[in-house]
């Protein structure tokens, strides 16, 4: 994994740089939405940030399963990376959400389905990191269990919060957006997904180097 990862990161980083440099241009050229005004542009960051978080949670779940059942250390490193990356993108979503909300709903926070679900997912991910931090020796295997449960929880959270409350603009508006709005959205979307992968690759590499350092320490002590 290491050599592949080493080559992968610059490619991903370069690609996401390209998307993030070009995205503002495309977003500015997109038509000005009359009711929401400038705030509507947040959408181009908000939605892709969430999608990137879901990608990271999915990676977390799969990697956790691999680590738990196959005991592959590489899978554990990927799981930590994914959890931290998911927290970052989740924070982006949670910051951009209220900015939109104050304009659209007149309040910073609404107990709306998506927002509630977002907060809970963020909570689960932070709990995962807390376990790793404070669980002591061997908590990596326990964290893998939590990782699987976190992924399995997504559909239940989605359905339950959805029925519980709905004020949020439906996700189903996305495919029906006029093309002028759609192009910048998918452009940002691609940018965020590539960025997510780049962060994952960088974070995994950090973990790999940490593991290598630990191995060296152990080897030095050996003699």
């Amino acid at each position: 994994m290491t050599p592949m990862n080493r080559r992968l990161f610059p490619v991903l980083a370069g690609l996401s740089l390209f998307f993030f440099v070009t995205a503002p241009v495309i977003i500015i050229r997109a038509p000005y939405e009359s009711t929401m005004g400038l705030v509507q542009k947040i959408f181009y960051f908000h939605f892709p940030a969430w999608m990137a978080m879901f990608l990271a949670i999915f990676v977390l779940g799969i990697a956790s399963g691999l680590y738990l059942f196959r005991r592959k250390p590489a899978a554990d490193r990927l799981a930590v990376a994914a959890a931290e990356t998911a927290v970052i993108f989740g924070l982006m979503g949670l910051i951009t959400g209220p900015l939109w909300g104050i304009k659209a709903w007149g309040v910073w926070w609404q107990w709306d389905a998506r927002l509630t679900m977002a907060v809970i997912l963020e909570l689960i991910l932070i709990a995962y990191l807390l376990l790793r931090q404070y669980g002591g020796a061997g908590s990596d295997r326990l964290a893998a269990g939590i990782g699987i449960f976190a992924m399995a929880n997504v559909p239940f959270l989605y359905v339950s919060t959805e029925i519980w409350r709905t004020v949020h603009p439906r996700t189903s508006v996305v495919p029906t957006l006029p093309v002028d709005f759609g192009i910048p959205l998918w452009w940002s979307f691609a940018g965020f997904i590539v960025l997510c992968m780049a962060l994952l690759a960088a974070r995994v590499r950090l973990e790999e180097q940490r593991a290598a350092l630990d191995r060296l320490y152990l080897a030095v002590e050996e003699d």
Binding site: F69, L130, G135, I146, A150, W164
Partner: protein, 227 residues
């Protein structure tokens, strides 16, 4: 399968016997649940009457809080003399041990819920028992969902530091769907105009949650418990 049930039953019987000697878990959990309900009443009673719709929330939060307490204590007992490792070393199927611990906790929580439900109905004038079968289904399925995740988590936290804090930190976010489903289902049952179709939907969702998470817990128990 017989063998599985035999081992699970052995564990349940052992837990019941231990509990019948000390009664610690039952008394402390029931007392804690009652305190919970009372504490919430100070938050939700205005002008001598409960805020409308508070009853369902208070019932479920009392269940979740006292459930966490019971989970922590039940496994503290297994941890204390390293007994859990004795269980794990037995040549029995490990998921059977999980099921045994889960069943014991469900019995305990059933007693707690019976008391809390009556108390909430009485103190908050909530018509909880208008649809007893549906309420029973909600409570039973909700408790199974909560306890099946909780039993796995507290079993695996037995060997970690700061387990007392980590259990609620991990358990509450993951079981929030249960709480949403349970509270919403109870709320539509006790509303002035009960919505039975919605209640059925919530019960169905709870059932689905239980099926998925019980399966996951049985599946991960063995690898998670190997250090």
């Amino acid at each position: 399968m017989n063998e599985f049930l035999r081992v699970a039953w052995l564990v349940v019987r052992k837990d019941l016997r231990v509990e019948s000697r000390s009664r610690e878990l039952l008394f402390t959990t029931v007392f804690f649940a009652i305190s919970c309900v009372l504490v919430f009443s100070f938050g939700f009673v205005r002008g001598g009457r409960a805020v409308e719709g508070a009853a369902a929330g208070i019932l479920w939060i009392a269940v979740a809080f006292s459930g966490t307490l019971a989970l922590g204590r039940a496994f503290e007992r297994e941890r204390h003399h390293d007994a859990l490792r004795g269980l794990l070393l037995a040549p029995a199927a490990r998921p059977a041990i999980y099921v045994g611990k889960l069943a014991g906790l469900l019995l305990l929580l059933a007693v707690v819920e019976a008391i809390v439900a009556v108390m909430v109905a009485f103190l908050f004038q909530a018509p909880l028992f208008r649809f007893p079968v549906r309420l029973f289904a909600l409570l039973a399925l909700g408790t199974i969902g909560f306890a099946s995740v909780g039993t796995l988590f507290s079993a695996m936290l037995v060997r970690t530091r700061s387990r007392a804090v980590l259990l609620p930190v991990l358990l509450y976010p993951i079981t929030i769907p249960v709480l949403i489903m349970g509270v919403s289902g109870t709320a539509v049952l006790i509303a002035p105009e009960p919505d039975l179709a919605m209640a059925r939907l919530w019960i169905g969702l709870l059932f689905f949650f239980d099926a998925v998470f019980l399966t996951l817990a049985l599946w991960t128990f063995e690898p998670v418990m190997t250090e």
